[in-house]
């Protein structure tokens, strides 16, 4: 079920009322949440519900085992079981075909004829998200950072919780499980915030991302015949497509969850207003970045390994993070490029410079220096996005080559492209700038209710106007 579908529009209020009807019995409320989450996921393909169940069962049992075991070896075996189960699932469904075809090509290049067959499996939606979520539980229990969850319903609900099941945020067990273990209370302010977040998320997805999507598809498919000016536009459009798509999804997920009294972690914090790449990565897909930080970077030694060891760790997490997005060299190249952009900041000890405050805090406009910093960061990001969007490395290289080969001053006019995305972005970017100090964007509006409602209605009108065929969220494929 897609958040931008009519089915979800019916499902949400239905779920909301019954969920709060069960507020007196936590067990019933959690059981209902679990059932509804399975329906939500099964709407896409019920056959893959077995995988979620299997992953949940494995980690639930591992958690119980870790609670009883004091022997180090046995605890390690249990953790290994969880790791192999979850990573095995991703490995088979997401990476098996990739490795097999790459191995086949490698052997062929040595003149060896290998008869390796691929499985051509469908990638289950959200597998990278929920397996990482369950993994975090097993690792935290193993490290005694959180107690074992003995309530199976609470645990299974934590894994399958529908707002964030298929595209995150990748929640930590230590944040979400305790919320399923205690009674929830509906709060008016949270409910209103949730609705505002859902509305702005839909605007990002339906109005911004989906409008850019058609143009991006056209530009990336016809890059060989288009002038450089359009190719640059293509990269910028993709930057907003993926931001609108993914941060829009996160907004809807977090907003929806607020309606049920459950707080999910923030996933995006206006990343395109970052002053350097390090800040960008603290503001983009926060739940994944912090996951890799806590479960890969720090266990590898983090920054305590000296400059060289730390550099190795940085490259590892950027490459793994790239590969997490998909079984294609383009994602690895995207991760590698970001590591390269990060490198000078790290070597000059500037990577922790912009850690807390948002750019131009308390001011309406940035200083020239801040403006330049944001411009450079955005340009680097767009450059890396070309690899992310391209079908292959050679496609990305050709695209970049065409940007520099042809006249950049040539008019970007093309009968197949409209000016609509530019008009939309010229409103969207200033609005995001105004909202940038708020976690819930529309909370920044401090006008009388009548104007606020008029603005919300305008947004709803735009959503209806721009909605056509429901386009899948990009991050569903990861």
């Amino acid at each position: 079920m897609l958040f931008n579908s009519i089915e979800f529009l019916i499902f949400l209020p239905f779920f909301f009322f019954i969920y709060w009807e069960f507020r007196r019995s936590l067990k019933t409320q959690n059981s209902f949440t679990l059932a509804a989450s399975y329906i939500f996921y099964g709407w896409w393909d019920y056959r893959f519900l077995g995988l979620i169940f299997l992953s949940s069962l494995c980690d639930y049992l591992v958690g119980l085992g870790l609670d009883k075991q004091s022997s180090k070896l046995n605890r390690k075996i249990l953790l290994f079981t969880s790791l192999s189960m979850n990573l095995g699932l991703i490995g088979v469904f997401k990476y098996y075909d990739f490795f097999i075809s790459e191995l086949g090509q490698l052997l062929n290049s040595f003149g060896l004829q290998a008869n390796l067959s691929t499985l051509n499996l469908i990638l289950p939606v959200g597998i990278s998200f929920y397996t990482f979520q369950t993994l975090s539980y097993s690792i935290d229990v193993y490290n005694k950072k959180m107690p074992t969850c003995k309530d199976p319903i609470a645990f299974f609900s934590y894994v399958a919780y529908f707002p964030q099941l298929v595209a995150g945020p990748i929640e930590r067990a230590s944040n979400l499980i305790p919320q399923f273990q205690k009674p929830r209370k509906f709060e008016y302010a949270e409910g209103v915030k949730g609705l505002k977040q859902i509305l702005w998320g839909l605007v990002k997805k339906v109005v911004i991302a989906d409008t850019c999507a058609g143009h991006v598809d056209y530009i990336f498919s016809n890059h060989e015949t288009l002038p450089a000016s359009i190719l640059i536009l293509g990269a910028i459009y993709f930057a907003f497509q993926i931001y609108g798509d993914f941060s829009g999804y996160s907004d809807i997920a977090i907003g929806t969850s607020r309606l049920f009294g459950i707080r999910l972690m923030r996933n995006f914090a206006y990343p395109y207003f970052s002053r350097d790449i390090a800040e960008f990565w603290r503001r983009w897909h926060i739940s994944l970045s912090t996951w890799f930080r806590d479960y890969v970077y720090i266990p590898l030694g983090g920054s305590r390994m000296g400059k060289l060891g730390s550099l190795r760790n940085i490259f590892i997490i950027f490459l793994v993070s790239g590969f997490w997005h998909g079984a294609n060299w383009t994602f690895i190249a995207w991760g590698g490029l970001n590591a390269l952009f990060f490198l000078p900041l790290f070597l000059l000890d500037l990577n922790r410079k912009n850690t807390s405050e948002i750019v131009a805090e308390g001011h309406h406009i940035p200083t020239l220096k801040e403006f330049m910093q944001m411009g450079i960061t955005f340009t680097l990001t767009c450059f890396a996005w070309i690899f992310f969007r391209a079908e292959s490395i050679s496609h990305a290289m050709l695209y970049i080559e065409n940007i520099f080969d042809q006249s950049i001053l040539q008019s970007p006019g093309d009968p197949n492209l409209s000016i609509t995305p530019i008009i939309l972005l010229s409103f969207f970017v200033p609005l995001e700038w105004l909202f940038r100090q708020r976690e819930v964007s529309l909370e920044a509006l401090r006008t009388p209710r009548v104007f606020r409602f008029a603005f919300y209605y305008l947004l709803i009108y735009l959503i209806i106007q721009f909605s056509g065929d429901q386009i899948d969220f990009i991050y569903f494929q990861f």
Binding site: I6, Y188, G191, F453, I464, G468
Partner: protein
């Protein structure tokens, strides 16, 4: 919670009012049971009407045994030419704009489920049907091309959501309400619906669902323009499989199926390979091809891509005669 619900209610009140106007006015005539009129000055889903008409007629006890399938091109062919002297022929026109092979398959399954025999079936095939995969082709967007949920992969929810969206989108709502309240049609409403005072209905038969298109004034803006001819491409593996499935379904009902290829104004070239493939699927005498009929006088066209009934009926009889079929 009560305060929150009040907040939502107040906020949604204008939206609920707008939706209630849609439910009451039902401009696309997809909410309330269908009447006997088919055409309306507001374009809507012919497919919805065709399927609802069929179901209604079935509930009234009608039995059918001869069916015509295809997209809007089927409007040219009528009972007279399809039945052609067969006194036992009970004909129903099951064509609809923007039809795909999937829709045709589902219609045959619906006919089967409703207990009708398919003695004879005619599939009017052209490149548009073949390329229209699951009704998602960008050329087939809009209310006219929405398909009945029973004969498509549309759910009832998404079907009605689509029409509600058409109502709320592109200022249709404003035009419709201004027109309803003021009673006058303005030129700026042209993009949304025709002038009801000038709109002429295409007479249609409630038993056969066939449309008489001799009335040239029905769509005064549509006129004949010659177009470039396009070859029908060879069949893909997927298309072959779907066509085989259609043939099997009809054969399982002991019916005979004929495939008729165009022509339309935009196509007349039929490759030998395509013919071979169709013959392999449907049988030697079951593929009727009307070639090179483009050079017709304007009077024989309904508009720039559809034949008039007069020419459709002449052509169908002529094709069947050349195929040694007798009245």
């Amino acid at each position: 919670m009560e305060r929150f619900l009040r907040y939502i209610l107040w906020f949604l009140l204008p939206a609920l009012l707008l939706v209630s106007t849609y439910v009451i006015l039902d401009p696309f005539r997809v909410l309330w049971p269908i009447g006997d009129e088919r055409s309306s000055y507001i374009a809507s889903s012919d497919d919805y009407y065709g399927v609802e008409r069929y179901l209604k007629n079935k509930s009234l006890g009608y039995q059918y045994n001869t069916f015509l399938f295809g997209n809007s091109k089927v409007m040219a062919y009528q009972e007279e030419a399809v039945c052609w002297g067969d006194l036992n022929c009970r004909f129903y026109n099951f064509g609809a704009p923007g039809e795909s092979l999937l829709n045709i398959k589902k219609k045959i399954e619906l006919i089967q489920a409703k207990g009708d025999d398919i003695k004879k079936a005619y599939i009017i095939l052209d490149h548009k049907i073949l390329m229209n995969e699951r009704n998602k082709h960008p050329n087939f967007q809009g209310p006219v091309y929405e398909h009945h949920p029973l004969v498509s992969d549309n759910s009832w929810i998404s079907f009605h959501a689509a029409f509600l969206q058409y109502y709320l989108k592109d200022a249709f709502l404003v035009s419709h309400l201004v027109h309803k309240l003021g009673g006058t049609w303005h030129e700026w409403m042209k993009g949304h619906f025709a002038d009801p005072n000038k709109f002429k209905f295409n007479p249609y038969d409630i038993v056969t669902n066939q449309v008489s298109n001799e009335n040239k004034e029905a769509f005064p803006d549509k006129r004949f323009r010659s177009q470039k001819s396009i070859s029908i491409p060879e069949l893909t593996i997927g298309q072959k499989e779907k066509l085989k499935r259609l043939a099997e379904l009809i054969h399982n009902l002991n019916g005979k199926v004929w495939v008729i290829i165009g022509p339309t104004s935009t196509q007349r070239n039929v490759s030998e390979k395509l013919l071979e493939d169709l013959v392999a699927i449907f049988g030697k005498d079951r593929v009727l091809v009307a070639k090179n009929k483009l050079e017709l006088e304007e009077g024989l066209w309904y508009d720039d891509s559809h034949y008039s009934n007069l020419w459709g009926n002449i052509m169908l009889k002529s094709l069947r005669r050349s195929n040694n079929q007798k009245p």
